[in-house]
Each structure stands twice: as structure tokens, then as C-alpha cells.
């Protein structure tokens, strides 16, 4: 459309001649930044911006996925073996929780487009609750492993042979858990109630903000409780193991993948100083050496479950950091919705945060099968 009027008067300042234009009401929108010509342009800019940010996020994670791929390619057996320590039910639960949250937040964006303030609020608060539940479940998963000595390679003390023979859990996290549950539930409930009270006392924005924070804490606690129900604690595990006569332990052995079998390869590739060292510290490995057939590239004897868990903790840890960032962003949206900032004219931030949240979920959708479901 060649706008003849403006062609003739190029000096016209867009901001001072609003009266002649259909864009009039946009110009005075309180959230219209002065350097954009129109609200549409502002929205498009924000949208492209968030997409680029997501591209950046994908590449950030891609480094981790690359590391995962390289090491799994070289040591498939270690991955298959080590992943059995992960609880598939908890992983599934978290996947469902995140999928639900994604659905909710998408609904919320739709609500923003339709000026439906109540629905934006409730969907976002629901999303927050899901995120918190996810973090609660992760807390149980992490602490449980730490108690068992399963950690990143540098702190990995788990002893495969000692486990399953009735070794009691020795971790401190396990003992602290009831207190953590009580605190999160109590504090969460209290803060949530304060939020509700503030909302009813006409302090809507701070009320919803405080309420969201309280609800998040509360649901972390709930997540812990739920996860505890699904994942038997170490003592129960030990009992179960005793009952099953260590059957599941035996299954590991015939994979030929436990650290001892792997170490026996070391003997055949004594060229690597590190290999010699580890073989020397593990005298038990020597006898099996002669029986091993020569392999072209012997598996690295230093690579074991500890490496898998390094990757596991870094990947899920970085993902969890993103969840927390997302929770902060969602709380911000809740507060701004409460302050009545959004309407069908201006709902950019709702959509941007929603997109970010989908990405965080998407990463989990990849992490879940790669970590929990490998065969």
C-alpha cells in the first residue's frame, strides 16, 4: 500500500499525527516502547527475540547431548547398566507433570489472547505447581542417589558389590528428609495462605505473587512426598533385595558389564598408564584377564557408571536450573496478570514465557528416554 499522504510529507512524526491514523489507540498503549512504530512491530520483535533465545538454548544443551552421544557410542554397555539405578516411575511421573504444565501454559497464552484474565492466572499457577512438583521429585531422586554414593565421577563412592547385600543406607539426606518435608509443606502452606489473605485484602498483585511463591514451596514438598511413596527408601530396598535373594543383582552380572568385567580389559591394553594404575589398585581383576579375547578397541577401564552419572547429573542439573528460571518467569507473569497488564492488545510476555517453558519441557522429553529408558 503506497501511502500517498506520507510520501508527500516525509517529515511527519508518526507519534504526533496519530489522529489521522487507524493506529491511534496503539500509540497510547502504556506498554508501547517509544522506539517501535507500532504494537505489532513490538510484538514481532519480541517474538523473534524469544525464538532466537530458544535457538541459543538448544545449542547450549546441544553440547551436553553431544557429550552424551559420544560417550554412549563408545561405551553403550556402561550406559545400559548404569541407567538401571534410575527409577522409571519417577521419570514417567515427571514427564507427565511437565506435559500437563505445557498444556496449561499454552492454554494460558490462548486465554491472554482472549482477554481472559482469570484463566491466565489459574493456568500459570497450575504450571507453577507442576514445576514445583517436578523439582520435589527431582529432590528425592538426587538425594537418594547421593545417599547411596551415586554422584558425579569425582564424588562417586557407590560400591556395586556391597549393594544388595543388606548394606543399610548411610546417607544423611535420607534422615533429613522428614524435616525437609515438614518445612516445605508448612512454610508453603503458610505463605500460600498469606497470599490468599492479601488478595482478599485488596492487595491483589502482591497477593498473587506471594501466593505463587507459597504454592511453589508447598508443591515441592508434595513432590517429595509423592516421590517418596513411589521410590522406596534405601532401607526398604535392602529389605526387598534380601527378599528377592539378590536376583536382580545377578542379572547385572551376566551382562558382563559390571566394573570388574570391564577392568579385565585393562590387562590387554596395558599401554595406557591410567589403565595399569587402575588395574593395580584392583587386584581382583587380574585372574579374569587371560580368559578375555583380544578386542580391537578395548573399552576404557576407567569409564564406568560414575561417568554415566556425571552426564546424568550435569544434564538434569542444567535442566533443573532452567526449570527454576522458568518458575521465576512464570511468577512474574502471574504478578503482571494480577496487575492487569495483559490484554489481547498486549500479551507478548505471556507468549514468550510460554514458549520458553515449552522448550524446557521439550528438553526433558529428550532427557527422559535418553536417561531412563535405554536398553
Amino acid at each position: 500500500m503506497a501511502d500517498a499522504a506520507t510520501l508527500e510529507a516525509p517529515e511527519t512524526q508518526p507519534h504526533h499525527d496519530g489522529g489521522d491514523h487507524g493506529h491511534d489507540h496503539h500509540e497510547h498503549h502504556p506498554f508501547h516502547a517509544h522506539h517501535f512504530d507500532s504494537m505489532d512491530q513490538q510484538f514481532e520483535a519480541g517474538k523473534l527475540g524469544i525464538w532466537l533465545f530458544l535457538a541459543q538454548e538448544v545449542l547450549f544443551f546441544s553440547g551436553l547431548f553431544a557429550a552424551y552421544t559420544v560417550y554412549r557410542y563408545h561405551h553403550p554397555e556402561v550406559f545400559v547398566n548404569a541407567h538401571t539405578h534410575l527409577n522409571v516411575w519417577l521419570g514417567t511421573l515427571n514427564t507427565i507433570v511437565l506435559l500437563a504444565s505445557s498444556l496449561a501454559i499454552a492454554w494460558g497464552v490462548r486465554a491472554a489472547m482472549r482477554n481472559d484474565r482469570q484463566t491466565i492466572l489459574f493456568t500459570h499457577v497450575f504450571t507453577l505447581a507442576c514445576a514445583a512438583l517436578f523439582m520435589g521429585v527431582k529432590t528425592v531422586e538426587y538425594t537418594h542417589k547421593w545417599d547411596e554414593g551415586i554422584n558425579v565421577a569425582g564424588f562417586y563412592t557407590y560400591d556395586e558389590s556391597a549393594h544388595g547385600h543388606g548394606t543399610p543406607a548411610h546417607g544423611a539426606w535420607h534422615e533429613r528428609m522428614p524435616a525437609i518435608i515438614a518445612t516445605t509443606l508448612g512454610v508453603g502452606l503458610l505463605v500460600s495462605l498469606v497470599g490468599v489473605w492479601m488478595t482478599s485484602a485488596d492487595r491483589v498483585v502482591s497477593g498473587w505473587t506471594v501466593g505463587s511463591i507459597g504454592l511453589s514451596i508447598l508443591f515441592i514438598g508434595l513432590g517429595i512426598v509423592v516421590a517418596k511413596c513411589v521410590m522406596p527408601d534405601a532401607r526398604q530396598l535392602a529389605l526387598m533385595d534380601a527378599a528377592h535373594g539378590g536376583a536382580h543383582h545377578a542379572a547385572h552380572d551376566d551382562h558382563g558389564t559390571d566394573p570388574h568385567a570391564a577392568e579385565s580389559h585393562a590387562e590387554t591394553s596395558a599401554t595406557e598408564p591410567a589403565a595399569v594404575e587402575s588395574a593395580a589398585t584392583e587386584p581382583a581383576a587380574t585372574d579374569a584377564a587371560a580368559a578375555e579375547p583380544a578386542v580391537a578397541t578395548p573399552p576404557d577401564p576407567n569409564f564406568g557408571p560414575a561417568n554415566f552419572f556425571s552426564i546424568y547429573f550435569i544434564m538434569t542439573g542444567v535442566h533443573a536450573v532452567h526449570i527454576i528460571a522458568g518458575m521465576i518467569a512464570i511468577t512474574w507473569i502471574v504478578a503482571r496478570t494480577a496487575a492487569n497488564h495483559f490484554s489481547s492488545d498486549y500479551y507478548g510476555p505471556v507468549e514468550y514465557v510460554g514458549l520458553y517453558w515449552h522448550l524446557v519441557d521439550l528438553v526433558w522429553i529428550y532427557l527422559f528416554p535418553l536417561m531412563y529408558l535405554i536398553h
Partner: protein, 593 residues
């Protein structure tokens, strides 16, 4: 090229009808605050400004400080190498060697992460990209400010590294040494991590700004080439930097928690680190050179008064370099356990990158052909760029050739190569840009004569410093050693002497520019007769850049510009609407593609 008769007719036209002369109205400079602003208010008006120009100026000051810091380290390195025994930087030979390792590491890291990468995009790009679009600001001014604050944060980590135990890993932080050395790897890598996000924010902002804020009439292929270059750079910044970020996170975890990913003793692979690192850092060399090429593409046509030759080739070649740059990282690992097949493939891909670079060089030369060349300071720098970058690029091909690299890897040949491209290319182009835009950014003209003398000194000094290093490299002098055999001494001393000349040249250039702030002639709106939009507002611009929306014309058509002695600069004679000129802004839809 604009003919003399055309110039006469333009002068006659404005004499006959002065209203055809486009003179941008003058407003309050963005550099000054309204009278009555208190001191702290004034400081805050800078530190928390959202004005892209002020952010750019702060970046300019910041990176110049970093350049000085890195330059001092370079001096330590060069003087230590005056003779073959490590004796300057420490009491004992061991101490001298340790100090030498620290000096070259911090030199490289500061120059790369704090200076070169932000130099052109964050300083000059910030000031001029929105203006070239006829826009008031970048798309996300707050993010832009955050980017600068992050830069300052990253810089502080580096200063802290410098002041504590230093750093001796080399700027590449290769494992396993970086996970075991007692120097402060953690501080430094956190600094780089933060700087990475500063760079990502800048890039993201620029992509969005160019995509969504181009004025009516400025289609992609009517954009100034500077914008194409910055745009391509920005894409690399957004897509490559996060890989560096995660690499550094892994390195930090490796160092603090022993995650074993890069540690052979724990089953990890240190070469994986190199792959990760170069997946960023090879594209990063294009973060450094593309904006430099972009400046050259602006300067050459203006000072030849001739339309740029092969506009679309230059534009596409920027994008091609950006994309191909992602595929060649393996040429840094030819000698570190890369498989033969991978090495051959990476070698071939490396050669392919030089094609778009070559296209640019030929187009610049062709632009100059039969142009009326004015050897003003920016053009002098542009000419030295052409010469030095060509040497740098060609020697890159020697290194990309697999068989040759096995001999030349980790020698001074590599050092000379990358200094020719990074310093001879990027720094020289940066200086060209600074001299070109100085009148616009600060509203004053510098002393041409002394500026050109400085340029000459820099050129001579640079070649004297780095050309001998090619010879040293071919003779087998390895890089990163504080001592050497006597046979290398001559060339090392040549190089150190060159460093002195180079330093003098750079200080002179800085002095000339700074002096101009105090006693420079007031700059006209368009001192060089350029046709891009940033010259169509007053010098220095006002807070919102354009008081009146400028006309968007062809960026490299100089037919309507004529030197007007009354103004002391060039003026645009109102273009005929029939020639397709359009006003920059219409309050209608944004131009998205």
C-alpha cells in the same frame, strides 16, 4: 563515480533553490545532559542509559581499556623474547617461564574475549546499526544495557584473575592442563562465560533489530553492507556462543567436581574439549572478521565515490562465511588424534571458506578500479586492511592444507597467521571504522595529517612485528616458549622492534582522536559524502537520532551528494521521488520478511 558536470549541476540546483538542500536539523547532542544535571545524576544517566549510542560509547571506552591491558601483556611477551634466555619476567629461569606463560595467556584471553569480539559489533555496531536503519534504538534497549553490564562483570573477573594467581593455560583453556594447573582457571572461565552472554545478547538484539525495524523502502538488498556483516556476525554470536558457554560449564564442573568428561584418568576425552572449544572458537574468528569486512565495505565505496561492486555477492558471501564457518572447526585438531578421514574432510571444508573471503577482496578491488580515490585516514586503514587480510587469509590456506599444517602447527607461523587476520584484519578495520565514524559519533574532525601518519606507523610496525614470525615459524620456532635457540634471535629482535613502532603508532592514533575532542573542528553532518542513513542526522546525533525522518535511498549511490563549502561537508540534494526514494518511516506496518 560521480562526474564533475553532475556536481556542477547539483551545486547550481541548490544555489537556485536552497530548499532542495537537505540539511538535517540540529538538536541537543546525545553526549551531553541538559543544563542543571547534577554530577551523580550525570553519571547515572550514562551507567543506566538505554540510548544505544551511549552504550556504544561506553563499550568503546571499555574495550579500549581492555586493549591497553592486553597490549601491555603483549609488551611483556615481546620483551621477554628479545633474547633466547628467559630472564626478564622472573628471577630464575623457572619463574620467568611461569610469568611468560601467564603473560601470553592473559594477552590472548583479554584480546580475544574482552577486546576483539565486542570491538566492532558492540561498540561501533551499537552506535551505528540503529542509525543506519533510521531507527530510534535497537529492539531491546534494556537487554543492550544488560549486555554492557555483563561485559563489565566479565572484565572484572579477568582483572581479578590478573590480580590473584593469574592464568597460564593459554587462551584456549585446553584440558587436561586447565583442570590441573594451580592458576585461577575458575575465575577466568566464569569471566568468559559471562562475556559469552554479553555477546549473545548483543547478537540477538541486532538480528531482531535488522529483521523487524528496517524502514519502509529498505529491503534486504538495499541495506548497507555493514548491516549484512553485522547481521551475519550476530547469527554466529547467537548460535555458536552457547556452545562455548556449556563447554566452560563442563570445564568448571570438571575442575571443581571431577565429572570426568574431559579427564582421561576418569575415562573422559580431553580432545572432546578441543572439539567443543573450536566449535565455538572457529566461528568466533568470523565473529571477529565479518564486522571488519563490513566496515571495509562501507569505507571503500565512499572514498572512491563509486557504487560498491558486486553488492549482492558481498552480502551473500557474509552469510556464506557465517554458515561455512560452522563446519571447519576440525582444522585445529589435525595433529591431535583426529582420524585421517575427518582431517581430510575438514581440510577441504577449510578451503571452501576462503572462497567467499576471496569474493569480497575482489569486489573491493573492483570497486576501487577507476574510482576517484581519496586517501583520507579511513581509506588508508582500509587499504592496509586489504593488504594485511589478504596475507592472513592466504596463510590460513597454508595451514588448512593438511600436510603443511603438520609441520606448521603450533609454530610461530600460526601466530603470524592469526595476527595478520585478527590484528591486521579486525583491528585495522576497527580503526578504519573509528576514524570513519568519529565525526558522527563525537561531532568533531580530527587532524587528518597526524591520523594518517599514525596509520602509516601502525602499518609498518605491524608488518615488522609479524612478518618475521612467518619466517620463524617455517624454520621451526614453536609458539608459547619463553626461550629459543640463538638462530632465531635476529627475527625475534626484528619482531620486538616492530612492536615498539606499532605501539607508537597506536598511541599516536589514540592521541590524535582524543585531542580532537578538545580542539577538533566541528564536524558537518556528512563529512565524507556517504549515502547511508547515519549521515543524515546532525553530528553528533540527538537522543532519538533523527529529528526528521531521513530519506531512504540507495546506500551506495552518490549522485545526489555534493560538497557544499558553506557547510564544510557534503549535502544531499533532495532526490526526485521518481527515482524511487522513500521516507524512512511511515507509521504503518513494520517491515517483516
Amino acid at each position: 563515480m560521480i562526474s564533475q558536470s553532475r556536481e556542477h549541476s547539483l551545486l547550481e540546483a541548490i544555489a537556485a533553490d536552497p530548499s532542495r538542500k537537505v540539511t538535517p536539523p540540529v538538536g541537543p547532542s546525545y553526549l551531553t545532559n541538559p543544563p542543571g544535571t547534577g554530577f551523580w545524576q550525570g553519571v547515572m544517566s550514562w551507567v543506566f542509559t538505554l540510548d544505544h549510542k551511549r552504550i556504544g560509547v561506553m563499550y568503546l571506552c571499555g574495550i579500549m581499556f581492555a586493549f591497553l591491558l592486553g597490549g601491555l601483556q603483549a609488551g611483556l611477551v615481546r620483551f621477554e623474547l628479545w633474547d633466547g634466555t628467559p630472564n626478564l619476567l622472573g628471577q630464575t629461569e623457572q619463574q620467568a617461564q611461569d610469568a611468560y606463560n601467564q603473560a601470553f595467556t592473559l594477552h590472548g584471553a583479554i584480546m580475544t574475549f574482552l577486546f576483539i569480539i565486542p570491538s566492532i559489533p558492540a561498540a561501533l555496531g551499537n552506535i551505528f546499526l540503529p542509525m543506519m536503519l533510521g531507527a530510534k534504538d535497537v529492539a531491546f534497549p534494556r537487554m543492550n544495557l544488560a549486555s554492557f553490564h555483563l561485559w563489565c562483570g566479565g572484565a572484572m573477573f579477568f582483572v581479578a584473575t590478573l590480580l590473584t594467581t593469574g592464568l597460564d593455560t593459554g587462551w584456549t583453556f585446553y584440558t587436561p592442563y586447565s583442570t590441573t594447573t594451580s592458576t585461577n582457571v575458575i575465575l577466568a572461565t566464569m569471566g568468559v562465560f559471562i562475556l559469552g552472554f554479553s555477546s549473545i545478547f548483543t547478537g540477538l538484539n541486532f538480528v531482531v533489530t535488522v529483521n523487524t525495524m528496517r524502514p519502509k523502502g529498505m529491503t534486504w538488498f538495499k541495506m548497507p553492507l555493514f548491516l549484512w556483516g553485522i547481521y551475519s556476525t550476530a547469527i554466529i554470536q547467537v548460535l555458536a556462543t552457547p556452545v562455548l558457554a556449556i563447554t566452560l560449564v563442563l570445564l568448571l564442573c570438571e575442575r571443581t567436581m571431577g565429572i570426568g568428561i574431559f579427564d582421561p584418568a576418569r575415562g573422559g576425552d580431553p580432545v572432546l574439549y578441543q572439539h567443543f572449544f573450536w566449535f565455538y572458537s572457529h566461528p568466533a574468528v568470523y565473529i571477529m572478521i565479518l564486522p571488519a569486512m563490513a566496515i571495509i565495505s562501507e569505507v571503500i565505496p565512499v572514498f572512491c565515490r563509486k557504487h560498491i561492486f558486486g553488492y549482492s555477492f558481498i552480502a551473500y558471501s557474509s552469510v556464506a562465511i557465517a554458515l561455512l564457518g560452522f563446519l571447519v572447526w576440525g582444522h585445529h585438531m589435525f595433529t591431535s588424534t583426529e582420524s585421517k578421514l575427518a582431517a581430510v574432510i575438514f581440510s577441504a571444508l577449510t578451503f571452501s571458506v576462503s572462497i567467499p573471503s576471496g569474493i569480497k577482496v575482489f569486489n573491493w578491488l573492483t570497486t576501487m578500479y577507476k574510482g576517484s580515490i581519496r586517501l583520507a585516514t579511513p581509506m588508508c586503514y582500509a587499504l592496509s586492511f586489504l593488504f594485511l587480510f589478504t596475507i592472513g587469509g592466504l596463510t590460513g590456506l597454508f595451514l588448512g592444507a593438511l600436510a603443511v599444517d603438520v609441520h606448521l602447527h603450533d609454530t610461530y607461523f600460526v601466530v603470524a597467521h592469526f595476527h595478520y587476520v585478527m590484528m591486521g584484519g579486525t583491528l585495522i578495520a576497527f580503526l578504519a571504522g573509528v576514524h570513519y565514524w568519529w565525526p558522527k559519533a563525537f561531532g568533531v574532525m580530527y587532524n587528518e595529517l597526524w591520523a594518517r601518519v599514525a596509520c602509516l606507523l601502525v602499518f609498518v610496525g605491524f608488518n615488522l612485528t609479524f612478518f618475521p614470525q612467518f619466517i620463524l615459524g617455517t624454520q621451526g620456532m614453536p609458539r608459547r616458549y619463553a626461550g629459543y635457540k640463538d638462530e632465531f634471535q635476529f627475527f625475534h629482535q626484528l619482531s620486538t622492534s616492530g612492536f615498539v613502532v606499532l605501539g607508537l603508532g597506536l598511541f599516536l592514533a589514540a592521541g590524535v582522536l582524543i585531542a580532537s575532542l578538545f580542539n577538533g573542528r566541528k564536524a558537518p553532518a556528512n563529512p565524507w559524502g556517504a549515502a547511508t542513513l547515519e549521515w543524515k542526522c546532525c553530528s553528533p546525533p540527538t537522543h532519538h537520532n533523527f529529528i526528521e525522518q531521513p530519506w531512504v535511498g540507495e546506500p551506495y549511490v552518490y549522485d545526489d551528494f555534493v560538497f557544499d563549502p558553506d557547510e564544510g561537508g557534503y549535502v544531499e540534494v533532495i532526490p526526485d521521488l521518481s527515482r524511487g526514494a522513500k521516507p524512512a518511516k511511515q507509521p504503518a506496518e513494520p517491515t517483516t520478511v
